[in-house]
């Protein structure tokens, strides 16, 4: 999966108004609520087979961090 594909998918998952960039800080998104966190965990799990918990968001701060977790090559 390319970065562009990842960004497009992740934006659809989060239903954000603004387009995402790899350097977007999750906490800066107005939509970054518990719903978005759950959607992200489910997205990592179902689309990439990567297990994550809410504690992981301490280290996953940006969209690039989520992509790295998903194993999308940088």
């Amino acid at each position: 999966m390319t970065h562009e594909e990842f960004l497009e998918k992740f934006q659809d998952v989060l239903q954000t108004e603004e387009p995402l960039g790899m350097d977007t800080v999750l906490e800066d998104l107005v939509e970054w609520d518990s719903l978005a966190r759950m959607a992200t965990v489910a997205f990592l799990d179902s689309d990439f087979g990567v297990g994550a918990t809410f504690e992981d968001f301490v280290e996953m701060r940006t969209v690039a961090d989520v992509a790295r977790k998903a194993g999308v090559a940088s």
Partner: protein, 379 residues
């Protein structure tokens, strides 16, 4: 995990009843800061639509009575042959007796009948089916009326947006009978008592009775959700993690135990926690999209104890023949369970509406009546 193969049981029919009063999420935009975009985002991600809600004075017993009477009428079944009545429920009418006894009375069932409640929430319908199958397969029962219901809207303040908008009120009746021919059903159930406080209504039991000292307590969290000590709490993120950990595994282990592939299951009825959770389970388990649905959540909300039955009944028009179904549910306890059942020939009574009868006794009238009963002024 508790696994079982139970044979010689036939599910004769299933029927769901919901109150005829619905709340539509579009009418609750005040809770989304009057922001249409936020409302639409919640609708798309959570699957919010509309949900039936009982008016004051209508309980699970009323809904169950209608569901059972309608089902038995539609099947043309003689209620005399019912030797077991099970009610799965966590919204009882009284502290005791169990609500199943009120239903035994209302339905006019005979005294040659075993009657009891099972106290469970969202996993309840699968546990109830397992129990009914076990009783018939063992020879203890020959005809079981399985009732399941919850009025989850009564467990929360409407201003608690983490809880209230997710749930709809409903009840179902399912009739199961002994079947001389083969009709194997497979079950896999599990429990994690250590998570008992992840979904809990603290006050109102015997550990913490509701007394004057708590009547005025109204707590607000950082987001403004309102909570009373007798309301339910769901630790959403913990429950989400729990669900993703146990449910896909439970479904896969059941398929393995039954020796069935995904392709041998006609329909997957998953507990309608919400759209996001149903889709995440389906994706992780590898359930094809066309073989399951989250849309019942949008039409009826999360029906707690009876949610899986609502899904089945909601399929009446789309899938006239249900075939071999895999049912899976999870929730309060924490508990989970899945079943593979053959539903060929099962009557699907669909989802009926229950209009509240006129002249329901007011709260004050009920209190006065019980005072007279205590004083011996009423027989």
């Amino acid at each position: 995990m508790s696994k079982a193969l139970l044979n010689h049981v036939r599910i004769r029919g299933v029927k769901t009843v919901v109150p005829d009063r619905f709340i539509d999420i579009d009418d609750e935009i005040e809770y989304f800061g009057h922001n249409v975009r936020q409302l639409e985002r919640a609708k798309k991600m959570v699957g919010f639509g509309r949900r039936p809600v009982v008016p004051e004075g209508v309980t699970v017993v009323d809904l169950c009575e209608r569901a059972a009477a309608d089902l038995l009428g539609e099947l043309g079944t003689d209620k005399g042959g019912i030797d077991t009545l099970i009610l799965v429920n966590q919204s009882p009418d009284y502290v005791f007796p169990p609500s199943s006894y009120l239903l035994h009375d209302r339905l006019g069932l005979g005294e040659e009948c075993a009657v009891f409640d099972v106290g469970l929430g969202c996993s309840g319908y699968v546990y109830g089916l397992w129990l009914a199958h076990s009783l018939i397969a063992s020879g203890a029962s020959t005809r079981v009326l399985l009732l399941a219901g919850d009025a989850a809207s009564t467990h929360a303040d409407p201003r608690n947006r983490l809880y209230y908008p997710l749930f709809g009120d409903a009840a179902s009746a399912t009739l199961l009978e002994h079947e001389p021919g083969d009709n194997p059903a497979w079950f896999a159930l599990g429990a994690r008592g250590a998570g008992w406080d992840r979904i809990v209504a603290p006050a109102g039991g015997r550990r913490l009775p509701i007394r004057k000292d708590m009547c005025d307590i109204e707590v607000r969290d950082a987001a403004g959700n309102v909570w009373h000590p007798w309301d339910g709490i769901i630790r959403g993120m913990d429950v989400f993690n729990f669900t993703m950990e146990v449910v896909p595994k439970n479904i896969r282990e059941l398929l393995l135990f039954a020796g069935k592939g995904m392709e041998e299951i006609d329909f997957f009825a998953l507990h309608q926690a919400n759209r996001q959770i149903v889709e995440a389970i389906a994706a992780k388990t590898g359930i094809p999209k066309e073989k399951t649905t989250w849309e019942t959540f949008s039409r009826y909300g999360n029906n707690s104890t009876t949610s899986v039955a609502t899904v089945l009944c909601d399929q009446r028009d789309a899938r006239p023949v249900l075939g071999r179904c895999l049912l899976s549910a999870f929730g309060v306890g924490l508990s989970w369970g899945s079943a593979i059942v053959g539903m060929d020939g099962c009557h699907n009574g669909g989802i009926g509406l229950y209009p509240a009868p006129a002249g329901l006794p007011a709260r004050e009238e009920q209190v006065e009546e019980w005072i007279r009963y205590f004083k011996g002024e009423k027989g």
